[in-house]
């Protein structure tokens, strides 16, 4: 079931009504209902993989209890590594086996050993990277005695499988979500309205912005050899907007849906394209994943403490793993390395934490320097996204070579991709709205305070009509992050 499908439009209100009508009972009943709804939501995609999800959940639940119930170091270690290994094994088999097998064969053939790659060719279960990370972080937290093991299996299962975050995050922490699951939720009008607005803006970002940009990005990237540098650069910009609209749109729908049910999820995006340097970008992009890597990999490795070599190593490790997390392809790894290269100078010069506030806070427009910094960061990310979007490294390098050729100055023929003026206007509107709302949790959160009811409702209606228009025109495009 996709967030941008008619089934979800029916599913969410039904869950909302049933869920709040169970409010008078204990949260246990609500949790059980939410768990059933979540499993149904997941089963709509492929019921067979539901068993994998249940198995993974049960494994982490029981090993966490085992770790928690013993003080014997060896036993704790045994259960900890059992859980971690099985989790990583699943991830490895479903996500990385074919990649490593093919890469190994290629490397072997390079050294003169001819072998045929053994591949599994199995479908990647949707959301596996997300729910596995939920489980791993939970087990690490238990092992490190940061939290105590959850005894109620329903509550724990809901933490892993809560439908808004199940298939593409945000990657939650037990310390943040489990207490909310355990406590009694009461309906909050302001929260619910906020949730609806966030869903609306998320749908707009996904259906109107991302899906339209995807059309153009796909045309250009799929025929990259036929386009001059100028068009390839425009294609990369379209993909840059697409991936933001797609993923942050998904996150907004997830956060909004959870908020409707009285649950606050971790924020995942904070207007990353208004960042003034790469460090700030990574504090604002896919926040739940970045902080996960920071807390569970970067800091245990030593973080930015220690020798220069260690700092460099840790930075590369975290960015390469981040790239690999996105998919089993060398393009993602190079994307990670490139981001590490962008980030290192800031880390080494100790300037990676100078932009902790919101750009041009309290002002309408940014200063010239801020514009320049934002533009530089944006262009750097555009180049990194070229690797992310390309089919292989060769294509990425061909695109970049063409961009850095004189054809960059060739007048781009927009008619070749049938660029619509309506889309350009919508993109302009989108960026303006994001800029105006950059101090809120999401762009249209503050709109409540600025307009009266008529204008506010008209504004929402315009968004709805555009969503309606593009949703029906293009039938259900999948979210990019479902593949991760």
């Amino acid at each position: 079931m996709l967030f941008n499908s008619i089934s979800f439009v029916i599913f969410l209100p039904l869950v909302f009504i049933c869920y709040w009508s169970l409010n008078k009972k204990s949260p246990k009943v609500q949790n059980l209902f939410l768990l059933i709804a979540s499993y149904y939501f997941y089963a709509c995609w492929d019921y067979r993989f539901l068993f994998l999800l249940i198995f993974s959940t049960s494994l982490d639940y029981f090993t966490a209890l085992k770790i928690s119930n013993t003080q014997n170091k060896n036993q704790r270690k045994f259960w900890f590594w059992t859980s971690i290994s099985i989790n990583l094994c699943f991830l490895g088999i479903f996500k990385y086996f074919d990649f490593f097998s093919t890469s190994f064969t290629e490397a072997a053939s390079h050294w003169g050993f001819q072998t045929n790659p053994y591949t599994l060719n199995i479908i990647l279960p949707v959301g596996i990277s997300f729910y596995t990370f939920h489980g791993i972080s939970y087990i690490i937290d238990i092992y490190k005695d940061r939290i105590s093991a959850e005894k109620n299996i329903i509550d724990y299962s809901l933490f892993v499988s809560f439908f808004p975050l199940l298939v593409a995050g945000p990657i939650e922490r037990a310390t943040h979500l489990l207490p909310q699951i355990k406590q009694k939720r009461t309906f909050d009008y302001v929260k619910a309205v906020d949730g609806l607005k966030q869903i609306l803006w998320g749908l707009f970002k996904k259906i109107v912005i991302a899906d339209n940009c995807a059309e153009y990005a796909n045309i250009i990237f799929n025929n990259s050899e036929n386009y001059p540098g100028s068009m390839l650069f425009i294609g990369a910009i379209f993909f840059t907007i697409q991936i933001y609209g797609d993923f942050s749109g998904y996150s907004d729908i997830a956060l909004g849906s959870a908020r409707l049910l009285g649950i606050e999820l971790l924020r995942n995006f904070s207007f990353p394209y208004f960042s003034r340097d790469i460090a700030e970008f990574w504090r604002r992009w896919h926040i739940s994943l970045s902080s996960w890597f920071r807390d569970y990999i970067y800091i245990p490795l030593g973080g930015n403490k220690g020798s220069l070599w260690k700092k460099i190593r840790n930075t590369f490790v975290i960015f390469i793993i981040s790239g690999l997390w996105h998919g089993a392809n060398w393009t993602f790894i190079v994307w990670g390395i490139l981001n590490a290269i962008y980030f290192l100078p800031l880390l080494l010069s100790n300037t990676n934490r100078i932009h902790l506030d919101v750009v041009a806070q309290g002002k309408i427009l940014p200063s010239f320097i801020e514009i320049l910094k934002m533009l530089t960061t944006f262009i750097l990310t555009v180049f990194a996204w070229i690797f992310f979007r390309s089919e292989n490294i060769k294509q990425a390098f061909e695109i970049i070579t063409e961009i850095f050729s004189p054809s960059l100055f060739q007048y781009p023929s927009m008619s070749a991709i049938e660029l619509s003026y309506t889309v350009l206007i919508l993109l302009f509107f989108f960026f303006i709205t994001e800029w105006i709302g950059r101090e809120g949790q999401f762009a249209i959160q503050q709109i409540n305070l600025k307009f009266n009811c008529f204008f506010r409702w008209s504004f929402y209606s315009i968004l709805i009509i555009f969503i309606y228009y593009y949703a029906f025109m293009d039938n259900n495009k999948q979210f990019i992050y479902f593949q991760f």
Binding site: W457, Y460, F472
Partner: protein, 322 residues
């Protein structure tokens, strides 16, 4: 909670009303208008023609109503052929529609050739030119519902306002479309262009794959008979005409099959697929459609055909068409 639900319902009603109003405004805008020859449903109502020309694109592009009016002393001739639809079931529903809103015509000419079939092979999914009829899909009223229903629009397309208009990307067509072209008042589209053999080489004979198969003859006969029965019930004389194709896709056996079918059903059949036209590439704009050059030659043949003349101009010749 109550306040939230009440506000949400109020807002939802307002939004639905807004969307419904846009749909209604568009429906009003396109009422009785045809934006092109493909969706000329408007020509099927309140026409009261004496001669109705029906069939596929080979009717739509080949039969000029003005020619029939002047050549055979017909008071009013109208072409309601449907581009992309050689299915006899389509012709049948279109005739039913026509008869619901008009007096029965005296004559119906239907193009019969090896491209005909009883039903669409792709009836439930992507029918040819389905988008052109999508503007009629929402809440199909009494007008032309049979034809529109033929396209099997789904529940959402029929009952959710603006759904079909957005889905089939015809919003601007509905907003800016008009009925300015004189051709479309009579449903016929004249093609002046010559065959672009570079883009569409003469060696391309894919049209042949749509030829009727002998195993389908019984169902084709049944469908044709259904049309024949409907005509007889309404006192209409049904005539079948086979128009020319270019020699590259001509097949004597196939083009004789249609003759046999009509003969078995005791239908008047005129084969205008003569070598004089089909061997000359200048008469076509593609392998199975003639341009104006070919049409003029075909019209000249019809003019010389006494049997056809006797059927279509009975008063002048003192004969009863039925």
């Amino acid at each position: 909670m109550k306040k939230f639900i009440l506000k949400l319902i109020t807002y939802a009603i307002c939004t639905i009303l807004l969307i419904y109003s846009i749909q209604m405004a568009l429906s009003f805008k396109i009422k009785n208008k045809s934006t092109n020859g493909l969706d000329n449903l408007v020509t099927t109502s309140n026409i009261n023609a004496e001669l109705l020309l029906m069939g596929s694109s080979r009717c739509w592009a080949h039969f000029d109503p003005h020619f029939f009016e002047s050549a055979f002393n017909i008071k009013k001739a109208v072409n309601i052929g449907v581009d992309g639809h050689s299915e006899l079931s389509m012709t049948y529903v279109r005739l039913l529609d026509y008869l619901s809103y008009n007096k029965p015509p005296k004559f119906i000419i239907i193009n019969v050739d090896p491209f005909i079939s009883a039903n669409s092979i792709d009836q439930y999914s992507r029918m040819v030119n389905k988008n052109k009829y999508a503007r009629y899909a929402f809440y199909i009223n009494n007008r032309q519902w049979k034809t529109v229903d033929y396209f099997k629009f789904n529940f959402y397309e029929k009952y959710i306002p603006l759904y079909s208009i957005f889905k089939y990307q015809i919003f601007s067509d509905c907003l800016f479309g008009n009925n300015s072209s004189p051709y479309f008042q009579y449903g016929y589209e004249k093609h002046d262009n010559k065959w672009d053999t570079i883009q569409n080489p003469t060696s391309n004979t894919t049209a042949k794959k749509y030829f009727l198969k002998p195993k389908n003859i019984p169902e084709i006969k049944t469908s044709l008979q259904k049309i024949q029965t409907l005509c007889i019930t309404h006192g209409v004389k049904l005539i079948c005409i086979q128009t020319p194709v270019y020699k590259s896709i001509y097949n004597e056996y196939e083009f004789n099959l249609t003759k046999e079918i009509c003969k078995d059903l005791n239908l008047d059949f005129f084969d205008l697929n003569v070598p004089y036209i089909r061997n000359d590439i200048s008469n076509f704009y593609n392998s199975n459609h003639m341009n104006i050059n070919g049409i003029l030659k075909m019209n000249a043949i019809m003019l010389k055909n006494d049997t056809l003349k006797n059927i279509l101009s009975p008063i002048k010749n003192g004969l009863n068409p039925l």
